[in-house]
């Protein structure tokens, strides 16, 4: 072999044994899309049952299994792995590295995911059914009162945690050690920065989640009483531990999305990102704050007033760095030369809807008002605005933006734009009315509801079917592009795109930057 460049192995072994960051990134992306469709299918079952008052299609217990699996699959199976896939593809290419720092571990961190989800999905067919305690799995509903399948759920969570921690260590090691000469920290593209910070968050909190599920395991099988008052424990302890993981977790999901948007908006504004340094500092501040706000998910558990006040003030503070980011993105667009290809449309959709989700987040942070909002559909609307219109929209933008670079073929712009408009409209028809029913008093996670909520629920279900169907168009567009899209060969697929990934040939060869590139100019200038 010697100095020969070798391409991918043939057949299935290419995928099983690959250590190539692009192959692994591809597998992560396809896997997460499959999970997105599975989680979406669960959501369709939920919305179909809620189409009208009365029990129609499923039993209440099965409905709870659907809400639980929908949440778990979307958070741990769709959104998180999709951003890891993006990181795999892009971080080495953005910092001028030949691959990830720990390629064998990279393979392993992907390949333990499919069995974990297979195991989680298999609980649907077990006696007693799948986990039915919500994706937040509060004890003792998830311990003493859970179906036997909870043990498989715990094992699955452990595996996902191991995978995430390995992925994060890999990203940290890559970013810290493999940047091309001249690629200083403050020259790194924002996507790399947001992922670096995200990776630190993951390393910090995934072990906490592992601790929580291990304590559950002990309570269930080994007679401990961590979460049972009868044995000297405390069910609320579970919530503190869960949300100490869970709040950083939502930033783990959204920070890479911020990174994506910070790459794409400048490209289609043909203007450098406004306030690069403040973007980095804002990201770091959000990450720091995420560790001291967890109990705002627990305003109604009966905390002392001092605790309520502390968590309220700390939570309100998050609005400051988040506001800075939104202002920076809009200033980037200001006096640019804007064009509205599909990735830009999804970013603008992100900007509008994520900001709405931020506003409802601020409302939710106000503890006394939260006594009325807590655990209603208002919360459901809020977090779908930030998770779907935030993370999923930006992920979709990322796919449209980088797909031509990856496969050397252009997607259909008409189909992309159609996908955007159907998604945008469908999303809002689904989730905007949920603000109304939540404020009017509809609790979340109920399979049937009082008659005054009927109209808006029907509207929500129709919207959900529209939004769900639009994702099939997306799938078709991506496959059609890879198979038969119009070939592109310009290194810079987009005239306004900046960064090292646009200096390699299109489609990106199997190995890139075996020789470190010269880093031309600081990020933030053109």
């Amino acid at each position: 072999m010697g100095a020969h460049h070798h391409g991918p192995a043939q057949g299935i072994s290419r995928w099983l044994f690959t250590t190539n960051h692009k192959d692994i990134g591809t597998m992560y992306l396809w896997f997460s899309f499959a999970m997105f469709l599975l989680g979406g299918f669960f959501a369709m079952v939920i919305r179909a049952e809620l189409f009208q008052p009365g029990m129609q299609l499923v039993e209440p217990g099965f409905f709870n299994q659907m809400t639980t699996l929908h949440g778990l699959v979307m958070v741990f199976g769709a959104i998180m792995p999709s951003f890891v896939g993006l990181a795999n593809w892009l971080i080495p290419m953005m910092i001028g590295a030949p691959d990830m720092a720990l390629p064998r571990m990279n393979n392993w961190s992907f390949w333990i995911l499919p069995p974990a989800f297979l195991m989680l999905a298999s609980t649907l067919f077990m006696e007693g059914g799948a986990p039915a305690f919500g994706w937040t799995f509060y004890a003792p509903l998830s311990t003493t009162y859970a179906a036997p399948s909870v043990t498989f759920f715990i094992f699955a969570i452990h595996i996902l945690g191991v995978s995430s921690i390995m992925g994060s260590i890999n990203i940290i090691a890559t970013v810290m050690n493999m940047r091309a000469p001249g690629m200083t920290y403050m020259k790194m593209p924002l996507f790399v920065w947001t992922w670096l910070i995200t990776a630190f968050l993951l390393v910090a909190v995934m072990p906490v989640l592992a601790g929580a599920v291990t304590m559950m395991l002990m309570d269930i099988h080994f007679g401990t009483s961590f979460f049972s008052a009868a044995g000297g424990g405390d069910p609320v302890l579970f919530q503190h531990i869960f949300w100490f993981f869970g709040h950083p977790e939502v930033y783990i999901i959204i920070l890479p999305a911020f990174g994506v948007v910070s790459q794409i908006i400048p490209a289609f504004s043909r203007k450098p990102l406004f306030g690069y340094a403040s973007m980095v500092y804002a990201t770091a501040s959000i990450a720091f704050l995420s560790f001291i706000v967890w109990a705002h998910h627990m305003y109604t558990v009966g905390m002392p007033i001092a605790g309520e006040l502390f968590f309220m003030y700390a939570t309100m503070l998050i609005a400051v760095p988040t506001g800075v980011k939104v202002f920076n993105w809009i200033s980037t667009m200001w006096r640019g030369a804007l064009s509205f290809e599909t990735p830009m449309l999804f970013c603008i959709g992100f900007l509008i809807l994520f900001t709405l989700g931020g506003f409802t987040g601020l409302m939710l942070s106000i503890a006394p008002a939260d006594f009325q909002y807590h655990d209603t559909y208002f919360v459901v609307a809020h977090f779908h605005y930030v998770m779907v219109a935030g993370a999923v929209f930006s992920m979709t933008a990322a796919i449209y933006y980088w797909l031509p670079k990856w496969c050397g073929r252009m997607y259909s712009e008409a189909m992309g734009k159609t996908h955007f408009w159907i998604s945008f409209i469908g999303f809002n028809i689904t989730f905007f009315p949920q603000h109304f029913v939540g404020l009017a008093g509809m609790p979340r996670r109920i399979p049937d509801y009082a008659l005054q909520f009927a109209d808006f629920n029907m509207m929500s279900s129709i919207g959900a079917f529209i939004y769900g169907a639009s994702q099939l168009l997306f799938l078709y567009n991506v496959i059609a592009t890879i198979v038969a899209g119009k070939p592109v060969s310009d290194e810079k697929v987009w005239d306004g795109a900046e960064g090292l990934e646009w200096t390699v040939p299109t489609p990106a060869p199997y190995h890139t930057f075996e020789e470190p590139p010269a880093v031309p100019k600081p990020a933030g200038t053109i």
């Binding site: 709870n64 340094a277 403040s278 603008i348 009325q372 009082a450 109209d455």
Partner: protein, 370 residues
């Protein structure tokens, strides 16, 4: 095409206009409810103003700074002044929000000097209310969903208060500071009545406090808001606020009934009495899982069951202690001796079981004690 489109728009806008579709939080009837509502509106309007300003700038840019119109991109990319301004100004706005939020929160937490204490216990899937008073026969009862299975499964027309009606509501006096002590028996529940702005988690092994003072007579409805298992959506909260005099009369009647029940437990009841009362208990406590004809469903069949037709003490043990790891809960704490005797008698003789066994309240007391 235009017609279809405007038709679709109308379909989606119609619910907004319809009177019964509430789109905002209710200020409710209490002072705190009104304070929370004002706070909610204040924060919302601040957000709306900021949102309109920010999006106006963005949409102007989208309109004016298009490449297709030949706009040339300028290359500015930072401005310390502007960046400091949009860090500091939001911070000041937040302080302005925190002030009313803090004072409202202090009110919510003012649990002192209550005139009436009520212990609320969440069960899967019903609420138990106990009036904690120093003297007199204790008053306690369960409050179950009153909506019928036929309505839920769409074979019967749904009533106006579908899923928000109970067999026995919580009754409280108006213009009285009522303190709720909230806990749970099994998993975490959450007791919420939007109109009086009280929501507090019910946590097994711990007691949370909340309070209200309801100025107006009325019926206020709410639901459990913490996922608590299969029938989480089917455990409503209904509060009747009545004038003090009416409350006292109600209380006296409840006490009388409690005394009568205690006396009843010492008597020997007729088979018909036991069967009648047993059917009532069965319908509210057992029917949802075991079926109207004892045919089973979520639970095992009662008709022809070996447990029901076998040894009485093991039959009672199952009813009283439940079966761990299944949906069969422990009813020992929920049924008094008369009700327990009645439901055991009923199960042993209804649905063609015909064992001929008659269980008296005294038998239940005896089995409990040894």
């Amino acid at each position: 095409m235009g017609k279809v489109f405007s038709g679709a728009i109308l379909t989606f806008l119609a619910p907004l206009a319809a009177a019964q579709n509430q789109v905002n939080m209710s200020p409710g009837v209490t002072e705190i409810g009104a304070d929370i509502f004002e706070l909610h509106m204040l924060i919302m309007w601040i957000c709306v103003v900021i949102g309109v300003a920010v999006f106006a700038v963005m949409f102007y840019s989208i309109y004016a700074h298009r490449k297709s119109k030949g706009h040339q991109a300028s290359q500015f990319h930072e401005s310390t002044k502007v960046e400091v301004a949009w860090t500091v100004v939001p911070f000041l706005i937040l302080i302005a929000m925190a002030v009313p939020a803090t004072s409202t929160l202090l009110e919510v937490y003012d649990n002192d000097e209550a005139e009436l204490d009520i212990l609320i216990t969440g069960y899967q899937w019903k609420w138990k209310y106990e009036y904690l008073e120093e003297s007199g026969e204790p008053v306690a009862f369960f409050s179950n969903l009153a909506t019928s299975q036929e309505e839920i499964y769409n074979t019967d027309k749904k009533g106006d208060n579908y899923l928000l009606e109970v067999d026995e509501p919580l009754v409280i006096p108006t213009n009285t500071k009522v303190r709720f002590l909230i806990t749970a028996n099994d998993v975490i529940h959450s007791w919420w009545v939007p109109e009086i702005a009280v929501k507090r988690d019910a946590i097994p092994g711990f007691i949370n406090e909340a309070w209200t003072r309801v100025p107006e007579e009325g019926i206020y409805r709410g639901q459990c808001t913490e996922l608590c298992g299969s029938y989480h959506g089917f455990m409503p909260v209904v509060v009747h606020a009545v004038p003090r005099g009416e409350f006292d009369a109600w209380m006296a009647a409840k006490r009388g009934a409690a005394v009568a029940q205690t006396q009843l437990a010492m008597q020997t009841l007729s088979v018909d009495d036991l069967m009648d009362q047993g059917k009532a208990v069965y319908d509210s406590a057992c029917l949802a899982c075991h079926g109207a004809q004892g045919q089973g469903g979520i639970g095992n069949a009662i008709a022809g069951s070996a447990v029901v037709m076998g040894d009485l003490s093991s039959h009672m043990a199952v009813v009283a202690k439940g079966v761990s790891g299944t949906a069969m809960q422990a009813f020992g704490g929920q049924l008094n001796d008369v009700e327990m005797a009645a439901v055991l008698t009923y199960q042993r003789n209804a649905f063609g079981n015909n064992t001929g066994d008659v269980v008296q309240p005294g038998d239940v007391t005896g089995m409990k004690n040894g």
